[in-house]
Symmetry: C2
Subunit: 468 residues, 2 copies
């Protein structure tokens, strides 16, 4: 594990060198997405889009600004966000009659409209999502992708006829998370947040946390069951087939650019990033190599033919910069995490072979050119598998089940019995300077054991960790 300082230095450095984001923008916590970083994020967005569309969600786009009046309606919700809200108070030369705020999240933008859209049971389920930016005035130290004030954000919102239908929707969210995490090669833990830590206004919240190289956890996604908490306030009512009027039950599912922060943190080595093939802006880079000018033509011709073949199935880049040596090109693309490199020199041209170099283990394989498409696909799959294996190893090695708080000496993820009382959880947090992430969703064998704090009967097994 890395110390926080060590990690911070490395993290900021790699983001700058790999040209993902520029934090020199003159507003703290608001950074410029550079082309390579933005492509990475768009690739993640597109995976999310594909999965949400498959689940029959519709993409929409709500306004950024929310009136103070609408925002003020759900009291718990406001209390949770009030200290973080950016206020628009004037426009042009005039003061606004009703102050507007930049969305910190979109419940209060969407739900007045849901009240207009939902009339009868035939309108349900209502399932929409949007990919936008949200704004939160963070007072803690900011860090690219992990804690920022302008957040690239995904949010899905649903309305259902019943609590049970909403629960089924939540199960579906977990399947999306599973698919997405696999493509990012990120293992994760799922924990139902304790009541005092749920989303403001939610009935209950579930967090998706990943393990970071510092031993801390980072929440990258969350799923909320709202029950009819918001629909009561915003009057989202439907008529049942028998003519009754009922409040809808609602869920939300949120993720952010933290997915990218977690991916970068998980997959790297001393040379730089190692990007999961599914999201790499460049999956394969082709490097032509020749010692003499006389070899150039043949090598470049071969490189172009390889590119032409690959481009049908992969995101490929041919690095034909004349002023750079092959060595410095290797350095650049290793830093930027391109998963697979193809080297083409006079020998390869002559033998009708190609040299494939995996980014994860730097191992070379010589293949026959005729098997290029198949072999390249196989290599990319192997790299993805290896990245996931390494990340799972890190998570497993740092997740321990403990029976006494004295066993907790280092950062990491700890599992322990808990009686369910808030005072015990707070006491555990105080003793360890960590946070109760909440009970895991998996069935486990610790049910019969004792609460690690009061030694009373445990009602669940909780995760404990220091979190970002």
């Amino acid at each position: 594990m890395k110390s926080e300082d060590e990690f911070s230095v490395w993290y900021n450095d790699i983001i700058e060198k790999a040209e993902l984001s520029d934090k020199r923008y003159p507003i703290k916590g608001m950074n410029v997405w550079l082309p390579y970083g933005w492509k990475l994020m768009l690739n993640i967005d597109n995976i999310i889009r594909e999965e949400m569309n498959r689940m029959n969600f519709n993409e929409v786009m709500f306004p950024l600004l929310i009136t103070q009046t609408e925002f003020g309606k759900e009291k718990k919700h406001i209390k949770g966000f009030d200290s973080q809200v950016y206020w628009v108070t004037s426009a042009g030369e005039s003061k606004l009659d009703i102050p507007l705020l930049l969305r910190p999240t979109s419940e209060t933008a969407m739900y007045p409209m849901f009240a207009l859209w939902v009339r009868s049971h035939a309108d349900l389920p209502l399932r929409i999502y949007q990919i936008i930016s949200t704004y939160r005035y963070e007072t803690k130290q900011t860090r690219s992708f992990i804690r920022v004030r302008e957040i690239h954000f995904f949010e899905a919102h649903t309305c259902h006829e019943s609590f049970e239908d909403a629960e089924k929707q939540i199960e579906e969210y977990f399947r999306v998370i599973e698919k997405l995490a696999k493509k990012l090669c990120l293992p994760y833990i799922v924990a139902k947040r304790p009541d005092w830590d749920k989303f403001p206004g939610a009935f209950y919240s579930t967090g998706i946390d990943v393990f970071m190289p510092t031993g801390k956890t980072l929440q990258v996604a969350s799923v909320h069951q709202y029950k009819d908490n918001f629909s009561n306030v915003y009057n989202i009512v439907f008529e049942t087939p028998t003519g009754e009027h009922k409040y809808v039950h609602q869920t939300t599912f949120g993720m952010s650019e933290r997915l990218l922060g977690a991916t970068i943190s998980a997959h790297n080595d001393s040379r730089g990033l190692i990007l999961p093939p599914e999201i790499a802006p460049i999956q394969i880079v082709i490097i032509p190599i020749f010692a003499k000018e006389s070899q150039k033509e043949a090598v470049m011709k071969e490189a172009l033919s390889v590119k032409k073949k690959l481009v049908r199935k992969f995101r490929v880049h041919l690095d034909d910069r004349a002023e750079k040596t092959p060595g410095s090109k290797f350095y650049d693309w290793e830093l930027k995490g391109v998963p697979l490199r193809i080297e083409i020199g006079p020998k390869e041209c002559e033998n009708k072979t190609l040299t494939l170099v995996r980014r994860d283990d730097c191992k070379k394989t010589e293949i026959k050119k005729e098997f290029l498409l198949k072999k390249a696909g196989e290599k990319l799959n192997e790299i993805a598998k290896e990245l996931l294996r390494r990340a799972e190893k890190a998570l497993n090695e740092n997740t321990r089940t403990v029976e006494s708080l004295q066993e907790i000496k280092t950062l990491g993820i700890y599992r322990m019995g808990w009686c369910g009382k808030e005072e015990c959880a707070l006491s555990i947090e105080k003793a360890t300077d960590m946070k109760v992430l909440g009970p895991g969703l998996e069935k486990d064998s610790l049910k019969e054991k004792k609460c690690i704090n009061c030694a009373g009967k445990a009602s669940s097994v909780i995760y404990l960790a220091k979190s970002y």
Copy 2:
């Protein structure tokens, strides 16, 4: 031509009925993009992305907020936008030290960063774009897609070594506009804006205007040559190969959701929208038709097989709603402008044929099923051609060359000689209650003629129209 009132009623009505946008959101001029409208806009965005990437532009994402300090640097620019800016003055409980504003456009967000990014001639050309929302406090009456306060916006920005390089870039923009307009089936006119009407801070501006059914024009895109106006203020300097330090020359290219407003306005009939195939969220809708329940299985099987075939090449929807009659399905999809309909009934099943119905002329064609892919592609191409032909006809019929202002009796686009003096242009505008769009870029035969106002020698031929 339609009267403004007539058009307004029709326009608002079709946007509501085709479910493109919901303007009941509680902030004036900020509307909710509904799924169908948002898909249309994303399809337009993706055409733009493809063309910009092909020109080797990189997509980036700059922050929404700009500090008052950076915004205040270019005096002409601020003067142009000052009355339209939304101000963020506090966050959480604290007043901000320096007020922030929502970008009305991104020059003042980007150029301080360009000053950091550009060091030497090797960094040039710098070519980036972003697709975002901009915010302008419009005081005029708002209208979906055409005049809104939250604008879905595309903006490209470049830096070049010289004025000539920047001019070449502008030529390339025009080629992108040509390709995009063709896909939207929209003819347009290009006019260099008079000096008093150029973009605030620009050296010169060129507007792309389309003809609207009311006889007015709508500016849907603009291209600006900034020269070194902004680089002087933001200190964007590069070192030449000989070690000199020079200010970069800059261009921008902007478009917005008005592209969608113009497309809707151009392509429609009494039944509803007629969407250009390139951007239609659904290009082909399949309607199964059967009179008896016993025919259902065979028809549905055939419909599914047709869908499966088409889905490889087209955006297809099979309307299998049991509670709706075929007639009411026709009505729905005609309203929503789906370009091609395929009807499948027992007769079609038996004969291995399909009935294709074009949205633009409602003509039916019976085809053999084996030619489906080819024929569907042909029909869509024919529809696109016909939409463009109709729109060109409307533009040409309403563009007239005049030699005296007395000839101008109706709305429309007028061409006339102009001596180049501002006072003459203003006098023309006053006499006609129209706006000088500026000299066209095309070479024309009117050069020798007289200024329509002062009868002095004409230096150019200008377009005149009433514009939105």
